[in-house]
């Protein structure tokens, strides 16, 4: 265990966890958008920045999602400097995705209700946090989508920005992991339609032989069968109808 101070409070934390996790465990709130417990920390949104002072006296600003707890660390999560940074970051996000309710609410919370900056269009609520691509790669393991190009041209796309990705199994994990709802999917008439910020793809759903409900994309079932080494026939029934 490690002893550190957050906002004046003495905290004990397990070695190896991030400042963000230690704070959350102790009900101290630090904002973040790109952080996702299921995948490795990315450090892209910068909202979780905190001011720290190490035991040796070194002061700096670090992303709490990546920086691990240390003995004798002093952390401040809500200084004036941090408030100004968060406000500016949200002004930048608001300018990037003016149509996102999630961003608008967050911006209001941090005093950035109206952005003084030039509004962008066409980003379709995508803040490039890469939660989707990272989940697809690290959790699902198929890496069907990724961030392409670089800088201000960066986009979350399928390979060649096609309305198709060979590797995609239609599981929808990307949609679940997206903090702004930039990715969505809909199951309609035996098909699943997945919509990414700039592309879309549809999947045939499998019908349960017992209740007749469409329950999962064929491709996803094929994938699960393959990696678990079980026969496809095991998946005739939907989970509700299996014993």
């Amino acid at each position: 265990m490690v002893n550190l101070t957050i906002n004046g409070r003495q905290i004990k934390a397990e070695e190896g966890i991030s400042i963000l996790h230690a704070a959350r465990k102790n009900n101290i709130h630090i904002p973040s958008l790109c952080e996702n417990e299921a995948v490795a920390p990315y450090g892209a949104c910068r909202l979780c920045l905190v001011e720290i002072k190490t035991a040796r006296g070194r002061e700096r600003l670090v992303t709490s999602c990546i920086y691990q707890v240390e003995e004798g660390l002093t952390v401040q999560t809500d200084t004036e400097r941090l408030k100004m940074i968060r406000r500016m970051l949200l002004e930048l996000l608001l300018a990037r995705c003016p149509e996102s309710e999630v961003i608008r609410d967050l911006a209001k919370e941090y005093g950035a209700e109206k952005s003084r900056l030039v509004e962008q269009s066409g980003n379709n609520k995508c803040i490039l946090c890469a939660n989707c691509a990272r989940t697809c790669d690290e959790v699902v393991g198929v890496a069907a989508i990724s961030l392409s190009k670089r800088g201000t041209e960066r986009e979350l796309t399928t390979p060649f920005s096609a309305d198709f990705s060979e590797a995609c199994i239609g599981c929808g994990s990307c949609a679940y992991s997206c903090p702004t709802g930039a990715i969505s999917f809909e199951d309609v008439k035996g098909k699943r339609f997945i919509k990414w910020p700039h592309n879309s793809m549809d999947f045939k759903l499998r019908k349960c032989t017992v209740c007749g409900q469409y329950w999962a994309p064929e491709k996803q079932i094929e994938y699960i069968a393959k990696i678990s080494g079980t026969p496809l026939s095991d998946y005739e029934k939907c989970p509700d109808c299996r014993d």
């Binding site: 890496a143 399928t158 060649f160 990705s165 060979e166 590797a167």
Partner: protein, 142 residues
């Protein structure tokens, strides 16, 4: 060629360079083959190929024009040279001329700063370029 790099995943960028040298650009089929041969996700091959400015996923002209936009050349008026080339060929940076003679690109400093503004066509270095010289230089390339 994949054998030359012993199917080393970390050689992806070198492989993309060699592929582009051989074909002139990086067609979809080539990237698919590289993904299969290296066992690297296609999305990652695509990400890397689109991240680095050296790579082009669309066919390019016979001669690549690289206008240096480095600071030293900028201070000597490279903007106006670029504008003149765009006007002369009727295209914008990043595009191919209609007859596929040229592709116009910009590059950030090639280290020949004494001769700025610098324009490189293929392997030829044209130094001290001015808008007036553009037409004459381009005429030499068929």
């Amino acid at each position: 060629m994949l054998e030359k790099y012993q199917r080393d995943k970390s050689a992806l960028i070198d492989i993309l360079h060699d592929t582009q040298s051989a074909i002139g650009y990086l067609p979809e089929e080539a990237l698919e083959e590289i993904h299969a041969g290296l066992d690297v996700p296609l999305s990652r091959v695509y990400s890397v190929a689109t991240f680095f400015k050296a790579f082009s996923l669309t066919p390019r002209g016979r001669h690549i024009i690289n206008v240096c936009m480095g600071t030293a050349c900028h201070v000597r008026g490279s903007d106006k040279v670029l504008e003149e080339i765009e006007k002369e060929l009727g295209i914008k940076t990043g595009e191919n001329s209609e007859d596929l003679r040229f592709t116009l690109e910009t590059v950030n400093c090639v280290g020949a700063c004494a001769l700025g503004p610098m324009v490189i066509i293929g392997e030829d270095y044209h130094g001290e370029m001015t808008p007036e010289k553009v037409g004459g230089v381009l005429k030499n390339y068929s």
